[in-house]
């Protein structure tokens, strides 16, 4: 199992870099994970989505797809793709330290 060091702490990740144990995630790790995915700086809007991803994961045990994310967070699909050009649900999940959402839609 691969691992990464964020904010000075070693965490377990899968082959694509997603946290396998969301409990290991700390807020101060987010900017570094985001920068690795080409997102720098992390704005208030990014944070809103990232926190929403963690909230959804805590409630449902899985991160939402892009459509569900837009529907429930109130952030439009267009803005989500502006914030996370390389895939909103995927990148926000990575930055939020939760496993990759597996929906097809």
């Amino acid at each position: 199992m691969p691992s990464k060091v964020y904010a000075g702490i070693e965490v377990a990740v899968d082959s694509e870099g997603f946290f396998t144990d969301p409990e290991q995630w700390r807020e101060e790790m987010a900017p570094q994970i985001a920068a690795e995915s080409g997102i720098d700086p992390v704005t208030e809007r990014h944070w809103q989505v990232v926190k929403f991803m963690r909230h959804e994961y805590a409630e449902k045990g899985t991160g939402p797809s892009v459509r569900a994310l837009s529907k429930t967070s109130g952030v439009t699909i267009k803005e989500l793709y502006q914030l996370f050009p390389k895939g909103p649900a995927k990148l926000a999940a990575k930055i939020a330290g939760i496993p990759k959402p597996r929906g097809c839609i």
Binding site: P88, K90, K100, C104, I105
Partner: protein
């Protein structure tokens, strides 16, 4: 499958998806693949040709039907598939099931895909063939392009024909 076996150093960066069919089962797979590509951060363009143009036709894209004749996958007797109203009934049934799975109806799905930044294009030859104009298409359509322009746009990526 959990994706763990996917090599991370060999990725698809761009897909160009050709939509040539005007049936429900002809259009959805292309839309799901385009939307899924964008969700993975892959650049995606959709090229609508022949009856696939119905998917971006203002007046028609809300009325896309499942093919009930010549569709052995439905496991219906051929004569039953041709009964009046059968296509509408089966389309409604399928649409309900899709709604349960949170798969959007075609017009909403297409709008959503345009919002993801994917490009929607109509095929010039088919537009001419069916006597259509730019005004027949939904606003999200970026342009009517020739096959040569399509190939230039698709260069360096994968082409998927549906």
């Amino acid at each position: 499958m959990n994706g763990d076996n996917v090599p991370t150093d060999d990725t698809i960066e761009k897909v160009s998806i050709i939509v040539s069919k005007g049936s429900l089962e002809g259009i959805y797979p292309a839309l799901i693949m385009a939307n899924g590509a964008r969700a993975e951060g892959i650049e995606a363009n959709l090229f609508f040709t022949f009856f696939g143009l119905d998917a971006i036709h203002k007046a028609r894209h809300e009325h896309i039907k499942l093919a009930t004749v010549g569709n052995p996958g439905l496991h219906l007797a051929t004569w039953a598939g041709g009964l009046p109203g059968m296509s509408s009934v089966m389309t409604q049934y399928m649409s309900r099931k899709m709604d349960d799975l949170d798969i959007p109806p075609i017009p909403e799905f297409i709008e959503m895909i345009a919002d993801t930044g994917a490009g929607l294009y109509a095929c010039q030859a088919s537009v001419d063939l069916f006597g259509l104009t730019r005004d027949d298409f939904i606003d999200q359509v970026k342009d009517i392009i020739t096959v040569g322009e399509f190939y230039r746009m698709a260069a360096g990526g994968q082409i998927i024909f549906t």
